[in-house]
């Protein structure tokens, strides 16, 4: 008996509902671009992107395609290829809501859900305009008698429960354990998500838990709801340790997407490949 559900890419796409709060991995954590392509084709609406802590071309494409109503992130950027044009345009024209955050806050909100507590405290941030505009964040005076300073304001961040998470991994084992290596932010994302699906380059015919050291590189199968083999599933983003980003393609995108028209032209080609 197979210890996990092997799904088609479209079956995973079907798990995403309009309005879902969806976990978005950073460019170094395995961006599920093939999945994203199918999601755009399906025409999903009103997604809320929760980026840990940033998104690049994945978020920009979803925004430009009209799939997104809200983004919570520390950054949306094309990195060395400049601003994320559809994101910038959408914010400037008020098409999407941006909940500006900062990297450690995005981690901490998921850690609160990981521990099933309603909030997580964080230092820093106070006095920034990030804090000023986040009505879901709260500041209390340090309630502790023996730790921290008296009268010290402490920022409290709400627990965030994701509806769904999809990321792309180099490989999974025959029992559905996902090899994530040092990309442990994927554990935090998975722990805080109601449903987790993984696209992967390949399924290994071994159990990574048979060896203590290889077990240590895994996100355990118990958090995973389904897996789909998708070759080159992160292209044109990098899959660290497997392939580099296709910088020519990202550059091409960065230029085309400067206008909505150029973006639509680019996407027509991209989606039909």
């Amino acid at each position: 008996m197979k210890q996990f559900d092997e799904l088609s890419l479209l079956e995973i796409v079907d798990e995403v509902k309009d309005g879902d709060l969806i976990g978005i991995p950073a460019d170094y954590s395995g961006v599920p671009m093939e999945f994203t392509k199918e999601l755009i084709k399906k025409g999903v609406k009103d997604l809320k992107l929760y980026c840990l802590p940033l998104t690049t071309i994945q978020g920009d494409m979803l925004i430009g395609s009209g799939c997104v109503s809200e983004v919570e992130a520390a950054a949306v950027t094309l990195g060395e290829f400049g601003l994320a044009p559809r994101f910038s345009e959408a914010v400037e024209s008020g098409k999407i809501i941006i909940k500006d955050s900062t990297c450690p806050a995005l981690h901490a909100q998921l850690q609160a859900t990981e521990k099933s507590v309603p909030f997580m405290p964080l230092r820093g941030v106070i006095g920034s305009d990030i804090q000023k505009y986040r009505k879901d964040w709260q500041v209390i005076e340090n309630p502790m008698k023996f730790t921290g300073n008296k009268n010290e304001p402490i920022l409290l961040l709400p627990a965030v429960q994701l509806d769904i998470l999809i990321f792309h991994a180099p490989c999974v084992d025959k029992n559905g354990n996902i090899q994530i290596g040092r990309r442990r932010e994927l554990s935090t994302l998975a722990h805080a998500s109601k449903k987790v699906f993984v696209t992967t380059e390949r399924i290994l015919d071994i159990d990574l838990f048979d060896d203590e050291l290889s077990a240590a590189t895994c996100l355990p199968a118990l958090y995973i709801d389904g897996i789909s083999v998708v070759k080159n599933g992160a292209w044109p983003c990098a899959l660290p340790g497997v392939y580099c980003a296709d910088n020519d393609e990202i550059k091409k995108y960065s230029i085309a997407a400067k206008t909505q028209k150029g973006f639509e032209h680019y996407m027509k080609n991209y989606l039909s490949n």
């Binding site: 950073a26 170094y28 954590s29 840990l52 802590p53 940033l54 992130a73 520390a74 950054a75 949306v76 950027t77 990195g79 060395e80 601003l83 994320a84 994101f87 910038s88 914010v91 400037e92 008020g94 941006i98 500006d100 955050s101 900062t102 990297c103 450690p104 806050a105 981690h107 850690q111 964080l122 230092r123 820093g124 941030v125 106070i126 006095g127 920034s128 305009d129 990030i130 804090q131 000023k132 505009y133 921290g148 300073n149 009268n151 010290e152 304001p153 040092r182 990309r183 442990r184 932010e185 994927l186 554990s187 935090t188 660290p240 340790g241």
Partner: protein, 245 residues
């Protein structure tokens, strides 16, 4: 005399600010700070001193194993001595803006966002602000959005904060008490008048204001023969542009 690129001069200026560090971390899209950190590490090695450099987006110089949050936890624990921050705008009180221009509700030009600045600025003892462009557009009287404030009230936990600001024209030191920058050095081709004209905020001028320091030959050799190749691993375009490697 050796022909020196402006970027090399900036790398050397930054390196001089790092010599007392034990652990330097460098964030995303920062080839010049990255090169400076590796340069100081190499120089420390020659003197048999240990210096740790963590460069995000490099596997080789990634000292972490606890995922993307470890940089922030590690900094909050006080284990990082120097970190670099930039800004779309930086103002005279060292507030930085990485979000956009115009009012937040009706933003004019949107930039990527604040990244980890809102924590790192509070907890890393030496934050070096680095922004190559030195103009009234980048160095402003008051930022449009505070991604991270330059100073905090007394009751706020804040072991860290701004120490220096380096642009391609000048080096400032931040005075925490006066909440004001003080000009320390200017680029060899610059005049004080021009710096004043190009700076959107008021600042003090150090009594002993000098030109930026020309690195000695040993340093230039290390930089060109060694650091250039190390940098090309994670900033290939930059290494190619500056050193053709």
């Amino acid at each position: 005399m050796i022909e020196l690129k402006r970027e090399e001069l900036l790398i050397s200026e930054l390196a001089d600010l790092l010599v007392n560090d034990k652990h330097i971390a460098v964030g995303a899209a920062s080839p010049i700070p990255g090169a400076a950190a590796l340069l100081v590490k190499e120089e420390a090695k020659l003197q048999n001193n240990r210096l740790r450099v963590t460069i995000l987006h490099s596997n080789k110089y990634n000292n972490f194993t606890d995922g993307a949050r470890e940089l922030f936890d590690c900094a909050a624990q006080g284990r990082i001595d120097t970190f670099f921050l930039g800004g779309v705008q930086i103002d005279g009180e060292a507030n930085i803006n990485l979000v956009g221009t115009g009012s937040y509700a009706k933003i004019q030009k949107r930039f990527p966002g604040s990244f980890g600045s809102a924590l790192m600025y509070f907890v890393v003892p030496q934050i070096i602000l680095f922004r190559e462009e030195h103009s009234p557009r980048t160095l402003v009287d008051k930022v449009d959005f505070i991604s991270a404030p330059g100073f905090s009230d007394e009751n706020i936990y804040r072991p860290g904060g701004p120490k220096f600001l380096l642009t391609n024209r000048a080096l400032f030191k931040f005075n925490k008490q006066k909440k004001r920058f003080c000009l320390l050095k200017i680029h060899n081709n610059e005049s004080l008048e021009n710096i004043i004209k190009l700076t959107g905020f008021k600042f003090d001028v150090d009594d002993k204001i000098t030109n930026m320091s020309i690195p000695n030959k040993t340093r230039i050799d290390i930089l060109r023969n060694k650091i250039a190749y190390m940098v090309s691993e994670f900033y290939p375009e930059f290494a190619d542009k500056i050193w053709g490697v």
